[in-house]
């Protein structure tokens, strides 16, 4: 890795109004029920999703008007929301006449979004509902952001303040007769949680041999780094070996 300080004369354009390249860099999504559902949805025309998204936005605006008040300052901002485990992306445009959520097949189907938010669907939903902290998701690299950070922070803070609960918001559609819908939703949630656990077991079984090899490689790499550091400082080899033996989890394979 190369770092330069300061990178004043570098050729990179860092201006806040530089165009956002939403060239997909989605990484490899984890095996999850969302990923499998995405494969199942792939043959469906995306346009079928639009009425559901319009309904969701109408509900949001009705039930969480305070969120949209906080977004007032953004005027014409647009966001590409890229759930890395689904075969499509969402676009959110805040401009008049009203904020609109749409779906696109590819990240580069949206021209010059103000910002891009990228992460697994469940992370994005947890962020939307304020059940996950945005900074923590960023630190752990579950969430990647690019583009106009002022717009991203405004969106994040507005959404986080709103007390959005997708399930409750959708159940509100059924009014006082939401009992059966609530039960069906509870059952679906339990099914999803079970599928997630089962798939995690499958994933762990597949990667266990690779994990073992990785651990061994990591330990070996650490030893080599230690050896290198010792060589640099001129520490006697005997001490270096003693130090290695004293540290747990670094035995060579």
């Amino acid at each position: 890795m190369v770092y330069r300080w300061p990178e004043v004369a570098g050729g990179v354009n860092h201006r806040a109004d530089a165009p956002v390249t939403n060239e997909p860099n989605r990484g490899t999504p984890s095996l999850s029920p969302v990923l499998l559902a995405g494969f199942a949805l792939r043959p469906l025309p995306l346009v079928l999703l639009q009425p559901a998204l319009d309904l969701a936005m109408t509900l949001m605006r009705r039930r969480h008007s305070d969120v949209f008040e906080r977004l007032d300052t953004l005027e014409n901002a647009s966001f590409l929301i890229d759930p890395v485990d689904l075969p499509f992306c969402f676009t959110l445009r805040l401009g008049p006449p009203a904020p609109r959520l749409s779906v696109v097949g590819n990240a580069d189907d949206m021209e010059s979004p103000s910002a891009v938010l990228r992460g697994p669907l469940l992370v994005l939903i947890r962020l939307l509902e304020g059940r996950m902290d945005g900074d923590a998701a960023f630190f752990s690299r579950d969430l990647a952001v690019e583009g106009d950070m002022e717009a991203v922070l405004t969106l994040r803070n507005a959404v986080d303040s709103g007390g959005i609960d997708l399930a409750e918001d959708l159940l509100s559609l059924f009014g006082p007769l939401n009992g059966p819908a609530r039960r069906a939703f509870g059952a679906a949630e339990a099914l999803f949680a079970r599928a997630e656990r089962d798939l995690e077991t499958v994933r762990a079984a597949f990667v266990a041999p690779v994990d073992g090899r990785c651990d061994a490689q990591t330990a070996r790499l650490r030893d080599l780094e230690d050896d290198l550091a010792d060589l640099r400082t001129g520490m006697p080899r005997a001490n270096a070996a003693g130090k290695r033996a004293a540290r747990p989890g670094t035995a060579r394979p």
């Binding site: 860092h14 860099n25 300052t73 752990s140 690299r141 990647a144 922070l153 986080d160 303040s161």
Partner: protein, 330 residues
Amino acid sequence: MSGTPLELVCPAGTPGALRAAVDAGADVVYLGFRDETNARNFPGLNFSRPELRDGLAYAHERGCRIYVAVNTFAAAGNPGPWHRAVDDAAELGADALILADIGLLDYARRRHPETRRHLSVQASASNPTAIAYYHEAFGVQRVVLPRVLTVTEIARLNVQIPVETEVFAFGGMCVMAEGRCTLSAYATGRSPNMNGVCSPASHVRYEQLGGRMVSRLGRFTINEFPDGEPAGYPTLCKGRFVAGGCAGYLFEEPTSLDASTVLPELMAAGVRALKIEGRQRGRAYIAEVVAAFRRAVDAAARGDPVPPLGLGGMTEGLRETTGAYTKTWR
């Protein structure tokens, strides 16, 4: 050793976060108005006057207090927004004002003598003479100490000053003497001291370049994080730079303060209140961190060992430190 529980002072950047903090067991919630009068002037964050009024009602009904931070330095020739912030907070019934600017401290003392005045960490007062001066001149009743003192130094200070002390317990590390850092001003022209924001979002860019995430602040590359490496804030103090041919952190690695392991020592040192940093953080952070510290503070007050808080997932760079409280480097 058992004793009076430390007062738990918790952050809120939105009404949702305020409710989360109160519900999770905060004794006090601190917040600011949605402008440059407070040191967390982030887009979409902070409170309007009606939101403060509602927040005060919610907190007071549940036995929780509200402190309002008006803790940036008033712009030369334009003290109006800062005076209005002090007036509105006091008139709406805030339990204390957190202030740093001596002109504003004087204004608050003359106009609202009945409202408690706390000295913000932004004033960077860390010795008995400075603190005594703030007490005598402006009637300051509490000082928030900068994150540069050891527990021993805090204990020594507490017996020499006539006011309560509040110390940071968890959250972002501002590694310089607060109120005096000009790194952000140097890189972006905007600073926490004058504009209420360090490394403003308008000057921050992240780029995915192959398997690396590059963070930039203005014209400076702050860091490159390979895939899988925990990330940190894009502040110059947490930058990874090349010096002498090696890339490394010159000032501080991405890490968060966690003083939970030294709570009994802080109590013994005579500290009155613990502050959790993070008005810019989400409701999930507030709920989890406040609940964990509620358990920790109560355990310490009973004389029980402080349980592990399990807050690693909330920390910058996914690492924590006790910072200067246990520093051995001086």
